[in-house]
Amino acid sequence: MNAPDLTTAVGELTLAGPVMAASGCGGTGRELEPFTDLSSLGALVTRSVTLDARAGTRPPRAVETPSGLVVDTGLQGPGLQGFLATELPWLAQRKVRTVVSIAGENLGEWAELARRVALSPGVAAVEVNLSWPPGSTASRDSFAAEKIVAAVRRDIPRGVVLLAKVAADPHTVVDVSRAVLKAGAEAVVVGHGPAALALDPGTLRPVLGGDAGRLGGPAVNPVALRCVWDLHEALPDVPLVGGGGVRSGLDALVMLAAGASAVQVGSALLHDPGAVRRITEELSAQLEQRGIARVADLVGSAHRSTSETGDTP
């Protein structure tokens, strides 16, 4: 058999491979360069860009927990202007498929971020980080999510794909996804991990400087998988990106079979800066072993009965 065809499409967003670096976990791209050929990334999702520069949350910002980590960076970053001046051009120059994650504080900011990002060269898609600002319920509340996505959609030309990143919460994910699709998102990204907490065993006080954070890593993987599964059942034609605890080619394969057209790798990149390349290679080997010629044939296949898929020995 020839090497499997790894190309995939998330709506209008075509990718050379189905493995993306999740927002905030691949840095600006520069940090991964020593470890990964950046062209092996299906896409790099940037850290969420805010309108103004942000110093971020008081440290410590991350703590290891069972099979994962609890993290709150408070979106430290140079702000939109700094991002457009120093980070985006570097990615564009290297032809890295770039998805820009944006995070606004209010509808005016969301619209401004959308407009200025979408006008910049080298942007393949915009990902709306619905878990911002802190305390916002938009990533699991369809009403709030719809308003934000509609504001962003108005300011993005059709050629730029709009992704909405929602909470990886099986109780809300279908409703919220319907809302963001109605507002003009082309695909749904699963998703932000749940709110979480770690206490210091000595002081019995929160470890993180910002007290609480979000859970990421293998611990959230079955939850994210359930979201992708339920979404594909409810909305079989909607392109999905599945993220949450993906750290191997097999994890990626499973996420794709559950209905995702692409996967995002987050905290696994903090463990292994070469993770995207490795996972892509492992996935390719898995496909070859199973006699699956194209990623596209795999997407959603777990929902079909075995007689439909069953040409594998």
Partner: protein, 292 residues
């Protein structure tokens, strides 16, 4: 080496030996590519727990020594203490065991261009990287003086080594079990005066670095301080290991200890504000409070 080979590498390292010395473990890894790129002050980030482990975060450890040309080609030596399960796992590795290594990472100690006297100050295990630094300084003709500190004799690292590495050695312990009883800040002014040091290099906890930076400044010496932080990815991606540092332009920024550090000029770090986001830092919220 070309500019592109100077970046870090990711390799499967093999444990060559693992010996106990006092309360510490001395681990030697065969890690091709790391020693060639090593400069004193840089670190390696090790994955812990082996293949079946779900421990996500790497342990960052300053390199003690590196040899690019030995019987085993490229080795790095590390000193560790089993303070938490990941370090305990590393400390338990037998020769032949395999560890995923990323390194060398971070900004090294800056070396003086002239053969000026230097004082190296280290507390406990954090003193480990000062020994290869001492070698490099001596290669440049710099007279080297050392101050080693710890709570007790058990905690002081490398006092014997130091006798070879440095012209003079002062050992300070909190309990007086070896050397002078007291604090580094109490003995350092005299060491700097006697040695006429132009540069002070330091490694240890924040409060010690703060004191060293202050004493160096009073003495008119430069200081180069290596901060240890809760390093997470160690490659600069995750923005979790940040410290407040004043830039050339006078503006304070939250910068990554793993990438812009771990070595900073001592007079640039806002020691009193470590572990916080100062209200005047670039991008800080305008109220004194942090994020909600």
């Amino acid at each position: 080496m070309t500019a592109t080979d100077r970046g870090p590498v990711q390799v499967l390292g093999e444990v060559l030996s693992n010996k106990r010395t006092g309360g510490y473990h001395h681990l030697t890894l065969v890690a091709p590519g790391v020693a060639e790129r090593f400069r004193p002050g840089t670190v390696v980030a090790l994955a812990v727990g082996g293949e079946l482990s779900d421990r996500l975060l790497r342990r960052s450890i300053a390199i003690y020594r590196a040899r690019a040309t030995g019987a085993y080609k490229s080795t790095v030596e590390l000193v560790l203490a089993p303070r938490e399960p990941g370090e305990a796992w590393l400390a338990s590795l037998a020769p032949g065991a395999v560890v995923d290594v990323v390194g060398p990472l971070g900004r090294p100690y800056a070396l003086p261009t002239e053969p000026v006297p230097c004082t190296l100050v280290g507390s406990g295990l954090d003193a480990a990287p000062l020994f290869s630094l001492a070698d490099r300084l001596k290669d440049r003709g710099c007279p080297v003086h050392m101050v080693l500190a710890g709570r007790s004799d058990q905690e002081v690292f490398g006092a014997l080594d130091a006798k070879r590495a440095a012209k003079t050695v002062v050992v300070v312990t909190e309990d007086g079990s070896v050397g002078i009883r007291g604090e580094v800040a109490a003995v350092l002014p005299e060491v700097l005066r006697r040695s006429g040091s132009d540069v002070v290099y330091a490694a240890g906890p924040g409060h010690l670095l703060h004191e060293v930076a202050a004493v160096a400044e009073q003495h008119g010496a430069w200081s180069q301080t290596a901060v240890g932080t809760g390093l997470v990815c160690a490659t600069g991606s995750c923005l979790t290991c940040v410290v407040p540092v004043v830039g050339e332009d006078g503006i304070s920024r939250m910068v990554r200890a793993c990438t812009e550090g771990p070595v900073f000029r001592g007079d640039r770090v806002r020691w009193g504000d470590l572990g916080t986001v100062p209200a005047d830092a670039w991008g800080a919220p305008h109220t004194a409070e942090g994020d909600s």
